[in-house]
């Protein structure tokens, strides 16, 4: 089976499993929305302030809960499944790509839903025509976060404290993505070009993709 067929099959099954257990949309998303509600309550319902901080809160919560989506339990293979995948000839790099596709789709859907919730709860005034740019930066953030999460998941495979350790790896490395995503919106508000920030996110995503594909097999074999 070709590299891409294996990657797409892994992504298909991941999404199928997610559809059945609903970890992202039925567990992570409600928690993130509750967190969105907590901020205005803490600020004493000052409408002007709430409208201004809405996008910043969205990016902060998007990254924090997006990490949880990227590191979701359904994307963690048991040792037996990893052994079986090795024996049927699954390329570890194809698994990385497959996980990035499925995680990217889920994280993007999560960010969109969270963004809509933020619009409804905070009512921020966004510059006209900003939706396509925000969609693009959300997509790049989703892909980058998933690549980071998948890579961190591979590094910490088999460790008892996997989720905590992987989060510690992801959080600092996600900084270029967070800066790129939040500054895209700021640039739109200031009526400046968003290109540098989009390029920063694209470069981060590309570097993570190359690292993930190149390190997948060595990491797999090092764990044996």
């Amino acid at each position: 089976m070709s590299f891409w067929s294996q990657a797409l099959e892994i992504a298909r099954v991941d999404l199928n499993v997610e559809r059945r257990i609903g970890e992202t949309m039925r567990v992570v998303l409600p928690f993130a929305v509750v967190s969105l509600i907590v901020f205005p309550l803490a600020l004493g319902l000052q409408v002007t302030v709430i409208g201004q901080i809405g996008p910043a809160v969205f990016w902060a919560l998007g990254v924090l809960f997006g990490m949880q989506v990227a590191l979701r339990q359904s994307a963690a293979d048991s040792p037996e499944r990893r052994d079986l995948q090795a024996l049927v000839g699954v390329d570890p790099a194809a698994r990385f790509v497959g996980r990035t596709i499925s995680g990217g789709v889920l994280t993007f859907a999560f960010l969109i839903a969270l963004f809509v919730a933020m619009l409804l709860l905070y009512g921020p005034s966004l510059p006209p025509g900003s939706v396509p740019a925000l969609l693009l930066s959300s997509l790049l953030l989703a892909v980058g976060l998933t690549e980071l999460g998948t890579l961190a998941g591979e590094v910490t495979t088999g460790l008892r404290s996997r989720t905590a350790l992987a989060s510690l790896i992801v959080a600092p490395l996600a900084l270029p993505l967070v800066i790129g995503a939040s500054q895209t919106l700021e640039a739109l508000i200031r009526d400046e070009s968003i290109l540098p920030w989009v390029l920063l996110m694209m470069a981060s995503g590309l570097a993570l993709a190359v690292a993930g594909v190149a390190l997948a097999r060595p990491l797999e074999e090092a764990a044996r």
Partner: protein
């Protein structure tokens, strides 16, 4: 004919603790070798080493003619079939979906999935979710995927423990088919009586050292 597996003085440590020490063995084509031993004697580690899933830290050897220290074990692994302690299924998928998934990953025609389910007696229970299936049903799925893959080197780690007669017979048939194809089988169990009944030769593993069974 070259041996299917050849280990010479192999040692394996896990977490700094030696689990296998100086293990040497040869498995010839068409052979069924039984390995017994007490709990914690290193049987599963030996099986994983033979499956190339665990790298030895000392000694050398080859599986299906390829040395352990080669960087490319992918082609060898495709010829190895393993039934381990815990069935490797996706709990949220049905038994049929699990088998289809493995078939797709292995590049096997999915049209062969339903006939394989029929052979292992799961044609009617195929839509049952894996986490709701019995242990025996999960084992049957593993047998079905080995029927689809037709590996040359079969590794069975306590594969018949907890199975009913008909499921055990399926594993027996799997071994016979493998012998007919010139493949080799290593069967590991703590039940030495069962191994003596099934295998041509048996060995005993005690605290990581392999001895010829008496």
């Amino acid at each position: 004919m070259d041996p299917v597996a050849n280990l010479e003085g192999v040692g394996v440590s896990l977490g700094g603790r030696p689990v296998l020490r100086g293990v040497s063995l040869t498995v010839e084509p068409g052979e069924v070798l039984g390995i017994s031993g007490a709990n914690g004697s290193g049987k599963t580690t030996l099986v994983r080493t033979l499956a190339t899933l665990q790298r030895p830290h000392e000694g050398n050897g080859s599986i299906l003619g390829v040395d352990f220290d080669t960087s490319d074990l992918v082609s060898v692994r495709k010829q190895i079939g393993l039934i381990g302690h815990t069935p490797a299924l996706v709990p949220e998928l049905s038994l049929r979906e699990n088998l289809t998934h493995i078939a797709k990953l292995a590049g096997i025609d999915v049209a062969r999935v339903d006939p394989a389910l029929e052979v292992v007696g799961l044609d009617e229970a195929g839509d049952r979710q894996a986490e709701a299936a019995s242990f025996g049903m999960k084992r049957r799925i593993e047998v079905a995927h080995l029927l689809l893959r037709k590996p040359r080197f079969l590794l069975l780690d306590e594969a018949v423990s907890g199975l009913d007669v008909s499921a055990s017979e399926l594993i027996g048939a799997l071994i016979e088919t493998n012998i007919e194809r010139g493949g080799a089988t290593v069967m590991v169990s703590h039940d030495s009586d069962h191994l003596r009944a099934v295998c041509q030769r048996t060995m005993y593993l005690t605290t990581g050292r392999l001895e010829v069974a008496t």
